[in-house]
Symmetry: D2
Subunit: 301 residues, 4 copies
């Protein structure tokens, strides 16, 4: 049997990933802020850790999938953290989408405890996680990356390596989310354009889906205005666009398209749509054009 | 042997399309404003028409692939035009990317001469045209569309039908070009973002290409800054973004992302880049970030 | 008594201007598409012309204040137009805000009839027109400008000369309207910003009004959301922003701020606000921020 | 003789303000990070403080004019700070442009030491400061504001009160800087527009200056491309636009015009223009239009 890993964070991405690790034969000590979410893992053979630090064993591996930079830093920097417990030879595989600067800061912090920090953000929505179809982007110490390979294989369809620099994988992940967000806005605008010019949105969605698998899903969601349940919460998407702009500011890089996306997303949050799927940002383009999209959940207002 | 068609416009898209029609066994009467471009077609069995109207025969089919709305209207509306010569039962297959409003205007004009106008813009760059990998979007009278099917098969990999409304196929084509243009700008910005944050552009291009065939080509062009020879001239791309905004204005549809693209493209034209590939618009994001991209052809200046 | 002038166009700007000309002692032959609007002028001594051409006398002066480029070209280019009747030594003072290109085209046309075209757009809203507080921007032949001086004095507080080039005064007028439109959007955004951060809009409006007379009026309108009656119709403002962008395109000049204004204005038109004052564009920024501004006239919907 | 005040921060705004306080008869204990800048103040009767805390006396008044939020927090929150030394009955008049959130945080901190925090940012460039033509915006405890009145009179031409909420004056100050920044970008674009359409930039600047005193100075700077010496450093302006966007994000307020300004300013910083006057951002619009503005200091590169 494979070794026992630590796993922290059982949200709608973390849970299916942890289940796949169990399915692949790994032992798992799991922790979640809301304890009730641990039960399904325990049912499949996972061990419930009572404290965060308990998930770690000396020289072992801990994976984390938490909401944002703040949550991750709180976990790692607290005295007596799981990082300290990992100690020499330990590896922290951080699956969250966070700022490259945070990854670099944590990497330096971990080094003091002789722990390797592996930035390992993933591409894919919860259904892809469940089907082991994630793509893992990873960067950090080469030895740790090699050690993590079988773990990555257990949770995804492929691994992309971006060298030793701890922030690199996060830069790449932000590139990817920026690209998807821009795709959503472009699709939103062109669907309104089609509709206002007498062409059905679903005809356009079909065509685009024919050309590009990457666009297919979002084109369909936007054409059908089906924004619930959220595959990826709009508020989390806003967090990522924010990370893009913050990181861009630190590197003195103006990104006008990212700014446009920022304003669209912030407006959607202001309109109370933070819990819808992030493709719900498409409502903005429709409203600007004087359409009154009838979103089921908002009709009640 | 299949019937003899008329063909007008032997630019870098028209020529390979015409060659494929010849290869498929069609007879072809060809016309081009610059007569020298007719020679390669004649070498493969085409007939050189001395005047535009000469390409048409009563009740036959004429295909056109010309640069813009103006050129097409000049061809069609002149007294004694090929449309008049086609007359009752004739079909005009218009392959150009033009405004939906122009398509509607021409359709009405053609109807007076009992000619069916088929809006049939195509997706694909010159290499795709040569390899019969175009996608044809078509709208117009159903009978004419059925009659045109084998022709479309001879030049592309698939046909998408958008009903009887003559402008519909052009609306859809503009949607497609808008989407591609937005992809170019997004790729441009994220490559600068990656570069400024220490990640190589080609690593990002590889990752994106892995996820999405649609993005692969442009990601590579932009990462390598290889903007010559032009697969699709930047100035022509600007024309299309213009058509999107014009058509959007007529339908009272604000498209902020299209406006952003418009400004980028117009700036690239102002900087003398109209003859480069339209992905050269990516230089704008780099320059805004204080980079001085060394474009081979511009270094000489 | 001063000479008798022709005057075409009695809208909410044209009427007070014409009244001031009568008040200054000029004779006036007036024409308006909707004849009923002529009565108030006749009541003050004006002469009602039955046809457009009738306003002109050989070698005389005609002023026009019509809605847009199209209306002006229709007036001028028709056979037997007032321009032909003016003939040698005649002067056409065109007060409308139109494209510089249109001004150049008309100037060339007028020259064929030996008529001087004076581009003479004005700054100021209807109340300023009534109080003779307009500013006139003028360009065209020097002799005609000198001849027009006393007329300009009768209708405004000052004249600004921009040389002989017929389009120049229109370029300048578009600059001015662009500046005002950008001011409206900036005020709109900062008022929402203030409101969302607990500072009253009227306090901000007062402060801004203290610093800048130019901003005072719009700051107050936006703070109070008093968009009716329209001093300057939003739809006309959109026309002007369009002229800016069109003229900018012809001169290959990207103007991202003008593009932003364009989208805001177009959205306001899409939302049915074309007949409100153009400061009503401010509702867009408020709605984007999740506010539901209670516009009196729209509540009824 | 008036009481003795503490004064921290002798930059190009702080110095003339401090000199005016001396001129008005106040005693002054001054501190500056770079000690050499204290000499001119001592020459006019000021007392050089050896440490920051030394500028304060129990129950007295200290004014600060430092570069940014960070610098101000460092000054105030350090143990043994001047705030602690002020103690009960003390007043801290903070002249810097900072985030409203910082002002609120400091206000709460000061309250623990029974010190009143007065947010008192000022409008005006260094020459206005020297001529006592600043406008002071102030908010905070009413008693402290009344006590500060004669001080404000000694340094400016007027005081605007925005109530007790400590952040309010900073909100208003950010509104003002946002408005000025938008004016700069609008002027920049319209000057390029004029130039490309054959109208001289100085003619446009003259016209605008005639209408609006607020615009006169910037219109002239941009027309003449005279960006040195900096009245207000571009990098500091970028800081303020950042504060606007940060504060807007906290209050969930999308500001697309502020985003556009952000990208322009960030690009100017990326191009190495952070030390020029902030109107130098105008070079961006010119470069986008394919012009190569010959900035004296950059030609040398």
């Amino acid at each position: 049997m494979a070794e026992t890993l630590g796993f922290i964070g059982l949200g709608n991405m973390g849970e299916p990933i942890a289940l796949n690790l169990l399915a692949a034969g790994y032992g798992l000590r799991v922790y979640n802020r809301t304890p009730s979410k641990v039960a399904p893992l325990v049912a499949r053979g996972g061990l419930a850790a009572k404290t965060v630090a308990e998930v770690a064993s000396a020289g072992g591996i801990v994976l984390t999938m938490v909401a944002d930079d703040r949550a991750l830093e709180d976990l790692c920097l607290a005295p007596g953290s799981f990082v300290e417990k990992l100690g020499a030879g330990g590896v922290h595989i951080s699956l969250s989408t966070i700022a490259p600067a945070t990854a670099r800061r944590l990497s330096a912090h971990h080094a003091k405890h002789k722990v390797d920090y592996l930035a390992s953000p993933v591409f894919g929505r919860p259904d892809a996680a469940a089907e082991r179809k994630l793509w893992v982007c990873t960067s950090g110490p080469g030895g740790a990356r090699r050690r993590a390979e079988p773990i990555f294989e257990a949770i995804g369809q492929g691994v992309l390596h971006f060298g030793d620099e701890p922030g690199a994988a996060n830069v790449v992940k932000l590139c990817g989310n920026f690209l998807i967000a821009s795709t959503i806005e472009a699709l939103a605008e062109l669907m309104v354009f089609a509709e206002k010019n007498g062409v059905s949105k679903s005809a356009v969605a079909d065509m685009i889906g024919k050309f590009s698998p990457l666009h297919r899903g979002y084109a369909k969601l936007i054409a059908e205005q089906k924004f619930e349940p959220a595959g990826f919460r709009l508020a989390l998407g806003f967090k990522d666009i924010n990370l893009v702009l913050q990181t861009a500011a630190e590197s003195v890089t103006p990104l006008p398209m990212a700014s446009l996306l920022y304003d669209r997303w912030l407006s959607a949050v202001a309109k109370g749509r933070g819990d819808l799927d992030w493709s719900a940002v498409a409502l903005g383009a429709a409203e600007d054009a004087g359409l009154k999209p009838s979103l089921r959940s908002e009709v009640v207002e």
